[in-house]
Structures are given as C-alpha cells and as structure tokens.
C-alpha cells in the first residue's frame, strides 16, 4: 500500500516537475549536497549531473541541494531513516567518524573492483585523503575541497606603499603589513582594517590554520583525542587575539563568515582569510586589483583542508552502489574536477586535474587559481572527531570566548579540552 502511494506520489511529482518518460530499467540515484560559499553553485552541479546522465542513460540522478554542511548531513540521514532513497551524498569531510558510528557508509576499498578503479582511488592528493581515511580504509572521496587562502587588495597595498607582489609570509610580517594597511578617518575611526579572519560559521577551521602554522594539530587520526590545551595551540589563539588587541589590525569581537566577503569587496578590509571556494565569486565582483596568497606561517606554513567528500550509503542495492560509484568517479574525473575548480575556486582534487588543458590555461591566465593546490604541501586534516558537532561547538565557543575577551586563551582552551575529553572518553 505504501509503495503504491509512493509511486503515485513520485508520478505526480514528476508530472509537476515536468520530467518526462522515465526509463523503467533505469537505476535511480538520489544524492544530497551542501553549499557553503557564494555563487550559483547549484547550477554548476546540475550541469555536471546532466552531462553524466547523457553519458549514462541507464542512470537517473536526483541531486538535492540541502543547505549548509550540517543540513546536508541531517537531511541525508533523515532520508535514510525514514526509508526515502539516498544512495550517496556530498557531506562534510569531517563527518566520517560520526557516519561510521551510525554504520551509514561503506568503504570505497570494498566497492572498487577493477584495476582502473583502484588506480582512480589512488589518484587524489594525499592531503585531501587524510580526512577520508579511517582504520586503513577510504570512506570519503574528495569533491568540493578547499584550503584557506589569503585574499589581499593589491590597490590597498600600493596605496600604503607596500609591494603588491610581496604579501606577508610570516606572522610578524602579517602584523606589520596589516598595521600599515589600517586607514583611519579624521575622527580616528577605522575606515579600512588591515585584515579579517572570520570567527563565526567555521571558526575551528580558521583556527586549525593558526595551530598548524605554529606546528600543532588539533586531534589524532582516530578522532578520539583532541589537543586543545597544548601550549603551542594556546599560543596560536593568543596570536589571533593579539591581531585585534595588540596590533589592532583587525576589529575586536567576532567577525561574521557570511558578510566578510562583502567587507573585502567594499574595501573595508585589505586582507581576508577565506575558503578558496569563494575565489570565483571574488574574481567576478572585485572592482579592484586583488591577489591570493598562501597563509603566513610561524614555525611552518599551514592550512587545514576543508569541504565536502562523497560518501556512499550502506543500505543501497549492489546495482545502486555500482551506479553511485560510477557517478563519484565521473564527478571527480580530471575533466570534471577541472571544470568544477574553474567554475568555483574549489581545488582540482587530483594532480591529473591540473594537467588538463582547462586548468593549465586557467592557471596561466589567473595564477591565484593554483594557490590552494600549492598550499596542499603544507596542509593538514580538518578537525574530525566522533560526536563531531559537539566537539566542534566546544572549540568554536572557546575561540569566540577568547576573541571577545570573555576568557583568556588558556582558560578557554583548557575548558574546551576538558569538555571534549569527557565526550570522547567513550570512543577510546
């Protein structure tokens, strides 16, 4: 009875949406995906899916844009639990441990069959695979992946007497350059800040960069231990605080992830740290000459990787899984990855993607497009633990508490560590 109703509903739905002539033998796939940066990304995904369907007439794909990373995970899991179809999804690369705890996903090692497929699995940048691996197996395939890069306003650099081709490469330089870039009006009010690092949305991600630059990581590979209270990590947070408090190159308090791009485009800040996923939108909207650089370093250079991976759900039929694997392979193939990277600013996920004509030409005419890739050498995994949502909130809250001056960096990070330890104890 329920199936009949469902079929009827599906029929009515396809009539409403204007789908025509569904092939009865087709394998139907439903995938959820998130968007966390600007621009009409849904159009680009739809275009890629369409191309896939043309090449594979026996597979029907419904791609569902579900909101941010958290929404995508919740909606995909909700679909699974309530018996709605979902065979694969793009979800946060750091959801891996939680998805495994829920026994929701399959390892790709168990899905690939041919040598060509195994080769494909080995073809990605190793740094991007860090968040996709656990217990020696690969559970997530990199798709919309990014690192944090530094966007800077070359015109502002010139106006301040700085060399626009020499962005700061160390923490000291970053503070010094930032100071020169701060512009004040007659009343002493700031008209242009030196730099902004966002602290809403994904503060833990920005922080991972600072920690890595100070030679620290935030958690272990198994995702059951965090290192928030290490001296090097605390020192990284103190530097972030100092950018506002001591050097005054950044406004104090919390900086909004969502409106930061607008601040940069309106020249309210001369530098910003943001996802490479914003590159194309910035390029299309900047009315001034801008550059993109690797993030500056202290002990070393560094940025976490970020973004979304493909996962394949366990409770699909073998036929569906094979089709899903085909789709993932298509979406991450060098040609598609190159197209995707050019359209968005996200990284080409494999070295082969950067060998394609599209990206070779693009990098030649627009060198910033290669910065994220070059930074991969210094990249680290993004904060991924069991109970990721909770642990992330502990860290986010601590960072915001420190940045708004409610707590010292040390106290905030020690509290966060204690809370994270309490939650993760069960997984050790």
């Amino acid at each position: 009875m329920r199936t009949t109703n469902k079929n009827l509903a599906a029929l009515a739905l396809s009539a409403v949406l204007g789908f025509t002539g569904a092939v009865s033998a087709a394998t139907e796939l439903t995938m959820y995906y998130p968007v966390a940066v600007g621009g009409a990304l849904t159009k680009i995904v739809d275009g890629m899916i369409e191309e896939f369907e043309v090449q594979n007439p026996d597979i029907d794909v419904t791609a569902i844009y579900a909101g941010n990373y958290n929404d995508a995970r919740v909606k995909a899991l909700a679909a699974l639990q309530s018996g709605k179809p979902a065979q694969l999804s793009v979800m946060f690369s750091i959801d891996i441990h939680e998805l495994r705890d829920l026994e929701a996903i399959d390892a790709f090692d168990d899905l690939v069959k041919t040598d060509a497929e195994r080769e494909w699995l080995d073809g990605f940048y190793p740094a991007l695979m860090e968040n996709g691996k656990a217990d020696g197996k690969t559970w997530g395939i990199p798709f919309q992946r990014s690192t944090i890069v530094m966007y800077y306003n070359k015109d502002a650099f010139r106006a301040a007497g700085l060399d626009p081709e020499k962005p700061p490469t160390t923490w000291e330089e970053f503070a010094a350059v930032g100071k020169k870039l701060v512009k004040k009006d007659a009343n002493g009010n700031v008209e242009q800040w030196g730099a902004m690092i966002p602290s809403t949305g994904y503060p833990y991600w920005m922080f991972a960069a600072l920690a890595k630059q100070n030679g620290e990581v935030l958690m272990n590979q198994a995702g059951n231990e965090t290192y928030f209270d290490k001296p090097g990590v605390i020192a990284a947070l103190e530097y972030w605080q100092d950018l506002g408090k001591k050097y005054a190159i950044m406004p104090e308090g919390v900086i909004e992830w969502g409106t930061l791009r607008q601040n940069f485009l309106e020249q309210k800040t001369a530098m910003m740290w943001h996802s490479t996923g914003n590159l194309t939108t910035v390029k299309n909207n900047a009315s001034f000459d801008f550059g993109v650089a690797k993030l500056p370093g202290k002990k070393e250079l560094g940025s976490p990787t970020g973004g979304g991976n493909f996962y394949i759900f366990k409770n699909s039929s073998p036929q569906e899984k094979a089709a899903a694997l085909k789709l993932v392979q298509f979406m991450t193939s060098p040609k598609q990855a190159a197209h995707w990277s050019k359209a968005t600013g996200y990284m080409g996920v494999s070295p082969a993607a950067y060998q394609t004509e599209i990206l070779q030409d693009y990098v030649k005419t627009f060198p910033p497009a290669a910065v994220a890739r070059d930074q991969l050498t210094y990249a680290t995994a993004e904060l991924a633990t069991h109970e990721a949502g909770r642990v992330r909130k502990f860290l986010d809250d601590a960072l915001q508490a420190a940045l708004t001056g409610q707590m010292s960096a040390k106290k905030a990070m020690e509290d966060a560590q204690a809370q994270a330890r309490r939650v993760l104890r069960r997984y050790q």
Binding site: L77, P251, G253, K268, G389, Q400
Partner: protein
C-alpha cells in the same frame, strides 16, 4: 444528560482530540520517557538511565547560559513590546494624521516571515558596512559590532523580536480600545483630568484583561521565537545569544542526540506549565471566558 447525546458529542470531538493527543499529549509523555533513556547512537537500542541525563544537564554550562539568556530575552522583550503596543494603539486610535498609514506601518512586521527579514536585519547590524553603523558614523560615532560582541548580541536579537511583536499586540489593544465607552472619557474631561491621568486611571485599568492576555502570549513567544537566530547569530558568540529552543534544535539535529534534547525539552515543558499555572491562579478571574 442522555447517553446518545453523550456519544454524539464525543464523536464530534474525535478528530480534534485524536490529532491533539497524537501530536501534543502523547509526544509530551514520550519526551519525559526519552529523557530517562540513552543510547550510543540512533541505531543502537536505548536503555533506561534514570536521572543521568539530568545530571549532565546540571553540569552543562551551555544549558545554564541559555536559561539565563531566555530569562533576559523574556524580560527584555515582553514589557517593551507591550508598552510599545499600547502606545501604538493609542496613537492609531487617536486624532493623529495619516492614521491608516501608521497603522499599516506598525502592522507590517506581523505578516513578514521572520526568517527572510532576518537577512535584512543582518545588513542593519553588519559592522562597518551595515546601516546602523553607517548612520552612527554620519554623526561621528564608531558603531559597535552588534552581533559579534557578546554584550550586544542578545540585545540586538531582542530589538528584532520587539519589532516583530509590538505591531501584532497593538491589534489586541486597538480592539479593546474600541469597546471602551466614550462617556467615561467625557466625564473625566469634565472633571479636568489630564491625558496622563486619564490613561492611568481609566484606560490602563480597563485594558487590564487585554494586557494579561497579551502578556501570556508574549511569554510563550519568548520561548518560541528563535527563527532569527538561524540567520543572525546561530546563538553565538560563545552562546551569548543562544536560547533554549535553538539549543534543543542544535542538540537534536546537529549533534543527533535526541535523548539530551528530550531532557532539555522537559525543562521547557516545566517552564510552560509554570506559566499556565500562574495564569490559572492569578489571572483567570480577570479574563472572562464566559
């Protein structure tokens, strides 16, 4: 009382009662039960843990923070909304020019969805580029980082809530004002009472039943209205603007922990029960349900 009538009445009640029981009473009971159980994940079977979840609750600093915030949120939005609503109703009911337009202006927020207008408020509150900071700069003041500063974040949310609610409550006062008899006012004027005195001695006391009704609604809304948090602050910075219902949502649908979410919901239910109790004990004699 005859039996046939009895059965017929219950039959008429059946659709309403079955829906209400299925989606209000039964889930309320289940919430209490769930708050006494726990499972490692949604796929694992749950077990009875007694009051363990409540132990976690007491140790959870975020929980105490959202309770505190909800208290301030209620205290900050309820009296102000009511005061503004009364003022608006008096203006619109009085002899002011462009009455119709004014009434329209006050009422507009009621029909705009909070979630979409929140994006516009996000622009108002944006540091440096936002409207409020632009206006302040025009008079030479370096505006605050409204949503990014823990001292102003909750207040900023309250301002939007008041904006949303005052016009709606105005309607109730307007309705009440139109039932007041003009003779009362004529008599007062003959005795030479000033407008403030008239308001204090005649209007305000006569509006009391409306005020109590609005008060209850405003209190309920102080628990219920969290839509703007999704856009404006997500409860940040560091939970400075987090509210109980948003925390319940986060716990259930971000952390996927329905057991702790149920425990938080119990607290909410208890708070609502207290409001209901207060209403029954203190006010019921004054609001006439006929």
């Amino acid at each position: 009382m005859n039996r046939r009538l009895n059965l017929k009445a219950w039959l008429l009640m059946l659709p309403a009662l079955s829906l209400l029981i299925a989606f209000t009473h039964w889930p309320t009971l289940k919430t209490f039960w769930r708050s006494a159980t726990w499972a490692k994940s949604d796929v694992a079977p749950s077990q009875f843990v007694g009051l363990e979840n409540y132990g976690l609750l007491i140790e959870d600093p975020v929980f105490w923070k959202v309770i505190e915030n909800n208290f301030w949120y209620a205290l900050g939005t309820v009296p102000t909304s009511i005061a503004l609503a009364i003022a608006m109703a008096l203006w619109v009911n009085g002899k002011i020019k462009h009455k119709g337009l004014l009434r329209l202006a006050y009422f507009t927020p009621t029909i705009l969805p909070m979630i979409t207008v929140a994006n516009i408020w996000l622009f108002f509150y944006s540091p440096d580029i936002g409207l409020f900071d632009q206006l302040l700069r025009a008079v030479g003041i370096d505006g605050p980082n409204w949503l990014g500063d823990p001292d102003t974040a909750l207040g900023s949310l309250m301002a939007m809530t008041i904006w949303k609610e005052a016009g709606f409550f105005m309607i109730f006062y307007l309705a009440a004002l139109q039932t007041l008899s003009p003779e009362l006012y004529d008599a007062a004027k003959v005795e030479g009472a000033g407008p403030w005195r008239i308001f204090r001695r005649i209007t305000f006391p006569l509006l009391m039943p409306t005020t109590l009704f609005v008060l209850i609604n405003a209190l309920l809304n102080a628990f219920k209205l969290v839509d703007h948090l999704f856009i404006l602050t997500k409860g940040g910075p560091n939970n400075a603007s987090n509210l109980l219902l948003y925390y319940i949502y986060e716990t259930a649908f971000s952390f996927l922990d329905s057991y702790y979410a149920a425990t938080l919901t119990v607290v909410m239910l208890v708070a609502l029960a207290l409001i209901a109790l207060a209403q029954m004990l203190l006010f019921d004699r004054k609001i006439h349900y006929r």
